[in-house]
């Protein structure tokens, strides 16, 4: 069988900088790639398109070689990947909604992001007039005395909008189907044609909890495209911001999972730790969530001596207090009773959907973009990637607990070895002919974030693709909840904590 490397060598290369190459392949090679995905040899990392081409990002599981394959559309259509490899289905449905290109043979032809409310169809292509809303048919579940529970898009808690359709037999969930797209803001369309600065601001608002990750991904992809050299200090500062973001989110979510099992003391204590991280971020970098701090060319902030001391004392404080909370979590049998064995995600599904972050790593998939393909400064830092195999809510909590330890160690190392010098690349990029492309994969707290960008010669962004890890995690939540009781859904949902806005963009 042809390896991904051979496939790339045998195809027409397109210039794209970043960790992976891009090449244009024929329909047959595209189809073969779909078969390799189906067999589990390769993993799907993203699928997007433009009116003339469909693109997909892949990783060969054995060698970690990555690539982007592109296929030309014939009469606005390309061979469906989702027909053979289910993780692509929603991506292809979204692609038709937004760009108007059809995946031939796609088994599910319902619209996905398009709810018939935009006043137009295919906004990232020609923007045809829309027929208006059409009823959305949920998948059927048949059996004796089943009932349906529909939830959302406005939920009972303070959460993002989305609709969940449960079919239950008594207390047991027989099927869950999510309907998303409520938070679709047309970000890709707004970025197309925008200046680099504005595009970076928009990228930083794909998902507020991952603003550093998306801003970093966008910065890396655009810097690759434009061959901008980022000063070493900025490279390290970015990692510092990313680890602080990971810490804040993990604290918040560990507490929230416990809160969904009505264990309020963990929630209160973890929320306090989260608040301390956010306040430290505000004191050091001027923004609690660190929005707009990572920019193409470097960072919009620097770290003074006071800031470094503050962060080191934060790390020391967390190291002192957090172990007590971990002990509390682990020794409270009534809480563990809710999390152990609940919402199990099988290793096979995690592998098939290339589940990123703690969702994958709690089900045996040891993937972390900081290692594969890896990016600076993580190659110079020591850290471990915790992996467990149980796949339940408890396993996902434990991955986060262990990642907190790793992030603390990383923050220590970064502050201890922070290079001196400027934090922004000097000079501006001169205008050029044609277009230039770049790609990046970065590890947000939730998993790997993929960003592809094509820059125009005048310095504006021609096209961009921002893929949140949630695309491959939402469908897995539906699988993990099956056979669990309805009352455990909040617990399962929070342990995944998929992004609505990041998915809907």
């Amino acid at each position: 069988m042809t390896s991904l490397k051979q496939t790339i060598l045998g195809a027409q290369a397109v210039e794209m900088r970043g960790p992976w190459p891009r090449c244009v392949v024929g329909r047959q090679t595209w189809h073969q790639a779909a078969e390799r995905l189906q067999n589990g040899d390769w993993a799907l990392m993203g699928l997007w398109g433009e009116p003339d081409f469909a693109h997909m990002a892949l990783i060969e599981c054995e060698t970690s070689q990555g690539a982007v394959l592109s296929v030309a559309c014939e009469e606005g259509a390309f061979p469906s990947v989702g027909r053979l490899h289910p993780p692509a289905i929603r991506l292809e449905r979204a692609l038709r909604d937004i760009v108007g290109i059809e995946a031939q043979g796609l088994p599910d032809t319902r619209p996905w992001l398009d709810h018939g409310k935009w006043g137009m169809r295919h906004p990232c292509a020609h923007g045809r007039a829309a027929p208006g809303p059409v009823p959305y048919g949920f998948l059927a579940a048949e059996g004796h005395s089943l009932h349906q529970i529909s939830v959302g898009p406005v939920h009972a808690g303070i959460i993002e909008p989305g609709h969940f359709r449960f079919t239950a037999s008594g207390e047991t969930v027989v099927r869950l189907e999510a309907r998303l797209g409520y938070a679709h803001k047309g970000t890709h369309s707004l970025i197309a044609g925008a200046s680099l600065e504005r595009a970076a601001v928009l990228a930083g608002r794909v998902s507020g909890d991952s603003t550093v990750a998306f801003a970093l991904g966008f910065a890396l992809a655009s810097e690759a495209a434009l061959a901008i050299d980022v000063p070493p200090r900025a490279v390290w500062l970015r990692a510092l911001l990313a680890e602080l973001e990971r810490l804040a989110n993990h604290f918040g979510d560990i507490g929230a999972v416990c809160n969904d099992a009505a264990f309020a003391i963990m929630h209160a204590q973890c929320a306090l730790l989260r608040e301390q991280v956010l306040r430290a971020a505000h004191a050091c970098f001027g923004h609690r969530l660190m929005m707009d701090r990572v920019v193409p060319g470097g960072t919009q902030c620097d770290l003074g001596e006071d800031g470094a001391r503050l962060l080191l004392s934060l790390v020391a404080d967390v190291r002192k207090r957090f172990p007590h909370l971990v002990e509390l979590y682990d020794n409270t049998s009534s809480l563990k009773d809710r999390t152990v064995g609940t919402g199990i995600l099988t290793a096979a599904l995690a592998q098939q959907f290339a589940a990123g972050g703690y969702v994958g790593r709690a089900s045996g998939r040891a993937f972390d973009a900081r290692r594969t393909p890896g990016y600076a400064p993580y190659d110079a830092l020591q850290f471990e990637i915790p992996v467990v195999h149980a796949g339940d809510v408890n396993a996902r909590v434990w991955i986060r607990i262990n990642e907190i330890g790793q992030s603390l160690a990383l923050i220590d190392q970064i502050i201890g070895r922070l290079p001196t010098g400027p934090v922004r690349a000097a000079g501006s990029v001169p205008a050029f002919q044609g277009t230039r492309e770049g790609i990046a994969l970065v590890e947000g707290f939730r998993g790997d974030v993929l960003v592809w960008v094509r820059m125009a010669g005048d310095g504006s962004v021609e096209r961009c693709y921002l893929r949140d890890p949630s695309w491959f995690q939402w469908p897995l939540l539906e699988a993990a909840i099956e056979g669990n009781i309805v009352a455990d859904f909040p617990l399962c949902n929070k342990s995944f904590n998929c992004s609505y806005s990041g998915h809907d963009v």
Binding site: I158, E160, Y182, A183, G186, S189, S207, L272, E275, S501
Partner: protein
């Protein structure tokens, strides 16, 4: 757990003093709150949060209001699960086209008297998403808005100052 509880008992509350009510918010609200609602509500307000397509940044900071440092409930402000129990709709996001109907229906389900607070730059005028085919652009394009709390996202202190202004306006006879 005993050790943790004991420590919490002896160390005293972590909750911080409240910020004063936002002056600008008081001015914006002056014309909005009438005597009838003051009579009915006194010093407590129930809040229903509606994410009308935000990036989730605002929600993170609204969540923080419930942590022990801000402790929103000490002011008589609390989040409720249904609009039918709410006096205030706290709306975030640029109001996506896909969320418009859900927002309108949530408003219709909220009993009178009711106030709408638009949280964040996006909720004011669409923010960075203004002009998108997928966004209506600001809560006031869909509902009458009584108070804007700006920010991207507003900090918990800013949210608190705005909500306290609302509480003050509602609980004082005009």
């Amino acid at each position: 757990m005993r050790r943790l509880l004991l420590k919490s008992l002896v160390q005293g509350p972590l909750t911080e003093p409240a910020p004063s009510a936002d002056e600008n918010a008081l001015v914006e609200l002056a014309a909005r709150v009438d005597r009838a609602s003051w009579h009915r509500l006194g010093r407590t307000l129930s809040i229903r949060e509606v994410d009308a397509g935000s990036c989730n940044g605002c929600e993170l900071e609204i969540h923080a209001l419930n942590n022990v440092l801000y402790d929103l409930e000490r002011f008589g402000l609390r989040f409720v699960a249904s609009p039918r129990h709410a006096d205030v709709l706290l709306v975030t996001g640029p109001v996506t086209a896909n969320m418009r109907e859900a927002l309108e229906r949530t408003y219709q389900a909220t009993p009178e008297p009711k106030w709408v607070v638009a949280v964040g730059h996006c909720a004011r005028d669409g923010g960075v998403f203004a002009g998108s085919y997928a966004c209506v652009g600001g809560v006031s394009a869909v509902l009458p808005v009584d108070l804007h709390i700006p920010g991207c996202p507003p900090s918990p202190s800013a949210l608190l100052a705005g909500l306290l202004a609302l509480l003050e306006s509602v609980s004082k006879p005009p």
